[in-house]
């Protein structure tokens, strides 16, 4: 069991990883906190009122935090699959499971949390010092309290694919990762479009004849599945279910599994 997962060793690994990466994590947090000022200046340029509402700043904060989670693997683990730098990491006496979990925690939880805290503190400080510039506090804004995307999958898919891309590609990691993501998304969209425009053409024509409004997009497949419109069309319902499972579970799990497999089998 000790070779699969050891809690003490995992703790040491997490401590080591955080300790080594803290300088860069803090650097990124400071840069993004300062960019809040840039956001305010942009606001002034495009709007006559120099006062930025808490809602606008909340959106900025959430976007910046999400962006951090997406880019974290590239910033914090870019050397992992380097033919020379990577040997130091892979030869560390910790299991692949421990290294993988540590990478997940630091990239997807610790790093975004540090940025979120830093930007929030900066915003709060500015709001306290000069309420005429930053009106209200983000943490009391309803949109911050209620912030959530339509599904956990929407939040997690992109960061997980970026983690996979960082481990998979050795050069031009960011470009290749985003091109791959775009390619995968386009293929998925094409499959969905083919199914609804050709495979189920007759059924969709019937549904349109009933003059019912349906919003068809990959992000709302779960809602689509629950839509009563398709109750009389089991084939469509099953297809939507399969697509929803693929999008909400298949893609994130696939990215996770792919990243784990890459970590386990990478050669130097």
């Amino acid at each position: 069991m000790k070779d699969i997962f050891n809690i003490n060793r995992f703790g040491s690994l997490l401590k080591k990883e955080l300790s080594e990466r803290l300088p860069i994590m803090l650097k990124i947090a400071v840069i993004l906190s300062i960019s809040l000022i840039g956001f305010w200046l942009t606001y002034i340029i495009f709007k006559t009122d120099p006062q930025v509402s808490s809602h606008g700043r909340t959106v900025f904060l959430l976007l910046v935090t999400y962006f951090t989670a997406v880019m974290a693997p590239f910033n914090l683990y870019k050397g992992f699959n380097h033919p020379k730098k990577g040997i130091d990491y892979i030869s560390l006496p910790a299991s692949v499971q421990e290294k993988f979990l540590s990478m997940l925690i630091i990239s997807l939880i610790a790093m975004p949390l540090i940025v979120l805290t830093s930007v929030l503190m900066t915003d709060t400080a500015i709001a306290m010092i000069n309420p005429s510039v930053f009106k209200g506090f983000i943490f009391s804004d309803n949109s911050f309290i209620n912030s959530s995307t339509t599904s956990f999958a929407d939040m997690i898919i992109l960061p997980l694919f970026c983690m996979l891309g960082n481990l998979l590609f050795r050069g031009n990691k960011v470009v290749k990762t985003f091109l791959s993501i775009a390619g995968t998304y386009i293929v998925f969209i094409l499959i969905v479009a083919f199914l609804f425009l050709y495979a189920f053409k007759d059924q969709m024509t019937e549904i349109q004849g009933l003059q019912l409004q349906i919003k068809l997009s990959v992000e709302n497949l779960t809602e689509l599945y629950r839509n009563e419109v398709f109750e009389g069309y089991p084939a469509i319902k099953i297809t939507i279910a399969v697509l929803a499972v693929l999008y909400n579970i298949g893609f994130p799990v696939g990215a996770l599994a792919g990243a784990y497999y890459r970590m386990k089998t990478i050669q130097y």
């Binding site: 000790k2 070779d3 050891n6 060793r9 040491s12 690994l13 401590k15 080591k16 300790s19 080594e20 300088p23 050397g79 380097h82 020379k84 730098k85 040997i87 130091d88 892979i90 030869s91 560390l92 006496p93 910790a94 299991s95 692949v96 421990e98 386990k264 089998t265 050669q267 130097y268």
Partner: protein, 275 residues
């Protein structure tokens, strides 16, 4: 300690090894020699678990290296030829990594750093290449792992550092440990490496102790080259001639001459040592 059977390995279409068999024991410091591109680094990486075997078997301390069991890595340390230094203070690097090695001795690390005259309070990136290498070697030796793999460890070291390296490696060796050093700079590590392994693209040409080599071959220093010898090379003041030791003469093994003699007379050398 290390058992390699029928190992074959290739990069895409380029075959590096074909059917290599090798058995390395604890308590020895092996010198791994071979021409450029013959696969010395590749072999070390296979032993270290960084490359996957295509065919054959490689077992190290009872582990299959590529499975990358942490218990295997606790007992193995690989010092690469090109070490890309992390942006961290040396002492902090050692302290954070040392926790993963059960045998890690922090006092030994500091003692070695002092011996190598490297400032542990500096960041790796502020040190010269030679100093980075020495710091890494100091850490490697202080982990007290059973197996240490070194790829060209004396590359980038100045002359005094090479002498220090020989001394610390000799001190690090014990009955339970095995050190494998891949090197072109045989003069840097002469009197240290024993046995000698000479690799070829087709396999292992030689895997013998210094005693057995001097039993089978004689290394004479003469004023002229000998046509009957296996190898003859000029040296200041004369020639080093390598011949079959028919008269049980005692001589000091010249590793460079041995290497050249072996490459030039593969079958003859094989027959000499198999007889």
């Amino acid at each position: 300690m290390i058992n390699i059977e029928n190992l074959s390995f290739s990069y895409s279409r380029h075959t590096v090894f074909n059917n290599i068999n090798l058995n390395l024991e604890a308590g020895k410091i092996y010198g791994l020699l071979g021409q450029n591109g013959v696969g010395k680094t590749t072999l070390l990486k296979i032993i270290g678990g960084f490359l996957k075997l295509k065919t054959g078997k490689c077992e190290v301390m009872g582990f299959t290296p590529f499975e990358r069991n942490p218990l295997f890595f606790e007992q193995m340390f690989f010092i690469p030829e090109d070490f890309v230094a992390p942006d961290i203070v040396v002492n902090k690097y050692a302290r954070l990594r040392g926790e993963f090695y059960p045998g890690y001795d922090e006092n030994k690390f500091h003692k070695l750093m002092t011996e190598f005259d490297v400032n542990g309070n500096s960041k790796f990136t502020k040190l010269s290449f030679g100093q980075q290498k020495k710091a890494l070697i100091a850490f490697a030796l202080s982990t007290n792992t059973k197996l240490i793999l070194m790829d060209e460890p004396s590359n980038g070291l100045d002359i005094p550092s090479k002498a220090q390296l020989r001394k610390v490696i000799a001190q690090a060796s014990n009955d339970q440990s095995c050190i494998v050093i891949s090197t072109h700079q045989v003069r840097d590590l002469e009197n240290l490496i024993d046995p000698i392994i000479i690799l070829d693209s087709n396999g292992v040409l030689l895997n013998e102790t210094i005693d057995r080599i001097s039993e089978k071959l004689v290394f004479r220093f003469n004023s002229k080259s000998s046509k009957e010898c296996l190898w003859s090379e000029s040296s200041p003041g004369g020639y080093v001639n390598v011949e079959k030791n028919n008269e049980s003469e005692e001589s000091r093994v010249n590793i460079e001459a041995l290497f050249n003699a072996t490459l030039s007379n593969k079958e003859i050398i094989r027959n000499i040592f198999n007889s």
